[in-house]
Subunit: 478 residues, 2 copies
């Protein structure tokens, strides 16, 4: 057993004998065995005991661990935590609260003491139970592969690994080892670590499965190993796809190139979505199957603009060639679009140049060459430029964002007026851009919706005597 | 339900309404439902019933199916099979024998009638049970993904797909559909199709799992779908790796480029090994975990030559830059090496040219220019050429393969004699080449082991008066 574990510590857990290691020790068989194995193999260990104060014998158990460490001259640290208070304060189950506090303490101590890794004593039996629990939840590979020898990053650290050297060691071998080394563990505290659900698996489901196939435990452990390797191949593809297709990244949003995402097989699209969700919600354990399928369906649908709610307010949004993921529409960057903060209003004299957000500029100039202005106006294809008849204007012009009920009488619609909001929707202007889109007004009427339409009443004609040229453009020097 | 199935038939099962379809119909709820759905959706179906003769009511059930088909003007074919006889003749369980005969009949009929697909009525419940059975066996993705809507190639045909349209339809919905359409199935014959093991899963394990998580059936079905997609990504990588690294292919062997194989991650190496094993043993259902891990370990070991037994006499063999897989060492091609069939012996006069296997030639010529021959002999680096002192030879020379106890006194070993077999091993000559390697003898003594060593006693010296030049070469014109 010592040889087997020595191999695992080196090859699977990548531990250096020169590193100091922090080992969580409850005093139960698994953790005492791990502590003894590490110490015997010459690793420099610190024993860390957490007193959960949940049972009368808790203090006594802490003392057993302290004495065990003292006898072998192993450093010992411990803490007392109040699980019940924390659980009620954070609406957690006792088990969840205990787990949270336990790992928080271990990693805080690990950080403070500069150790190379935090070690816990999950056994092969724990691994099999974990795999079964994931199976019942409908987990794919990510759950069925079980726990890893090394988890880094983990929810508690991005540089100190969480290491589980006993992951392929059965409890019966652990008990034999303890027996051989005359180590007496405290009464198994596993009920503390584990939920009622896990106990039912252990005492009810696993015996039934064994009656079908005596080798089922071994089979599940092996299946987990195979799936761990399968998962790592898929994750590499996902990481490459992420790199290749990530167009924008910010704490508040991610954007991916649509065409690249659509070329990925469904399997990789799923994992990419999961990874993107984890970017915003790193603590989230189980992402609902339906949520991911909803996302996949949206990717495939091919709507030009649109969005779908994934979970916890996180949306998947398509805008042209990009898929965005963001906590909300408001979180997306406005740098792509000209914007005016709702409620603000600016005067625009002629000539003038108004700086909007992110380098967008609104220019208004009187055109010196009337004839060519009239001609350009009739031939214009650029919706971000407009020529208007000065005599129809009330100067200064104003610029503001949309208000409820805004209407415009666009050129070419025979004097009919349309809602500005409908116009924006028809022109596939992204929803988040509509709210802050700059509108150029004259005397309280909307003159121009840049990128969309110009009002008929300001149209330049052959009779125009003076023409103002309006340009909304991006200052590429910024 | 009709809409859902219509979608599945088109999108998942890729069925054309113009195709004729052969449907296996036992008369139970699943198969009657499938038959009715297909007929109602306008597909051209043939009903095929197999009378297993295992229960008293078998004839009556066949009649029910016949009448059901007749009433709807659906073509009906049937056969009577003797499962018990076949089972005892082939040492199969009743269930295995029934399955074999059933599918054989369905595909024979499908072939004869030129139908586009064979359809069977496995339901979502069957799918979940299949996934659980694979889990208990320790299956990875290949089993946990469950059955596919389309299986092609399948064990019975490489061009007629086996199609399962009801794979995501629960039995309760099937029963509702039958009820709504006033179809009365015969007493469920599922006990026939299924093993005792499957029945225990259905009536014992699944209810327990449901008590842990009421959604467990749905979860398993979903997990299967996700893993189906994951599996297909990995299989594509495996197919590409196969293409890229396959160096030789023959019904009796496969060879892969070693360096390419070693670059693959363990997951892909495993699947590649499985695919290679399936190449030789296409019917094999479960390939042992240990067998694959043994293969993986051998790949990683880096021995220059060597072999490992995988299963059923199939070996994995390394020779230099190639990994071979073959039913046995004898199955590997000998074209790479000169060979003499053990027991045969040839005379070699001077001059002469002897044709060996696969274009290998042994030439013996007296060198006209004695001085340059002596010089070449001392400078020679090519182990497939030798110069020998004619006066030491007993002509004609003979060529034969190795015999037990063969020894040689090689040049440069101070007169010590060594076993020819040890020499060959030391020189890393592949095992399969050693047995048939040509040895050149003179008067009962080994003169030359081409590619290895020359005997000291025939060494050319400055005093040699006549020299024979021996060349073993490959005639590249063949």
């Amino acid at each position: 057993m010592l040889d087997k574990i020595a191999n695992i510590l080196q090859l699977e857990c990548k531990l250096q004998q020169t590193d100091r290691l922090l080992v969580g020790v409850s005093g139960g068989p698994d953790s005492l065995c791990l502590l003894h194995l590490l110490h015997t193999s010459g690793y420099r260990v610190i024993t860390a005991h957490i007193n959960h104060q949940l049972r009368p014998e808790a203090d006594q158990e802490a003392e057993v661990v302290r004495q065990f460490a003292a006898k072998s001259c192993i450093d010992f640290i411990s803490c007392v935590i109040d699980v019940r208070v924390y659980a009620s304060e954070h609406s957690l189950s006792i088990e969840e609260a205990a787990r949270t506090l336990r790992y928080r303490y271990l990693f805080e101590q690990a950080e403070r003491r500069g150790v190379g890794a935090v070690l816990v004593a999950h056994s092969a039996d724990d691994q099999v139970e974990t795999i079964l629990m994931h199976l019942l939840r409908g987990s794919g590979l990510s759950g069925l592969r079980g726990m890893e020898y090394i988890t880094l990053p983990n929810p508690w650290s991005d540089h100190i690994p969480l290491v589980r050297p006993l992951l392929s060691t059965w409890r019966e071998d652990i008990l034999k080892y303890l027996d051989k080394n005359q180590i007496v563990p405290v009464i198994d505290q596993s009920n503390l670590d584990t939920t009622y659900f896990r106990n039912r698996l252990r005492h009810e489901l696993l015996p039934m499965l064994k009656s079908y196939n005596p080798g089922v435990r071994q089979n599940l452990l092996r299946a987990g190993l195979i799936m761990r390797d399968d998962y790592s191949v898929l994750q590499q593809i996902v990481d490459e796809a992420w790199e290749a297709n990530l167009a924008r990244q910010d704490p508040g949003y991610l954007a991916f190139n649509r065409s690249g995402i659509l070329e990925l097989p469904p399997s990789i699209q799923r994992y990419l979505l999961r990874k993107a969700i984890a970017y915003f919600l790193p603590g989230l354990q189980d992402v609902d199957f339906d949520c991911i399928e909803r996302g996949l369906k949206f990717l495939a649908e091919g709507k030009l603009v649109g969005q779908v709610d994934l979970l916890a307010g996180l949306c998947l949004i398509r805008e042209g060639d990009l898929f965005w993921l963001a906590a909300s529409l408001d979180a997306l960057p406005l740098t792509d679009y000209p914007a005016i903060i709702p409620g603000e209003e600016f005067s625009v004299n002629v000539p003038s140049m108004l700086s909007l957000n992110a380098g967008w500029l609104l220019q208004a100039v009187e055109t010196p060459d009337l004839l060519s202005a009239i001609q350009e106006s009739t031939q214009n294809q650029d919706l971000f430029q407009a020529w208007v008849d000065t005599s129809e204007l009330q100067l200064p012009l104003t610029v503001r964002s949309r208000k409820a009920g805004d209407r415009i009488q666009p050129i070419g619609m025979d004097g009919h007026s349309v809602k500005v909001s409908d116009l924006m929707i028809n022109l596939k202007l992204p929803k988040r851009a509509r709210r802050t889109w700059p509108l150029v007004c004259s005397g309280g009427h909307i003159l121009w919706v840049p990128g969309c339409r110009l009002s008929q009443w300001a149209q330049v004609t052959a009779d125009s005597r003076s023409v103002v040229h309006l340009i909304l453009s991006r200052d590429l020097s910024t």
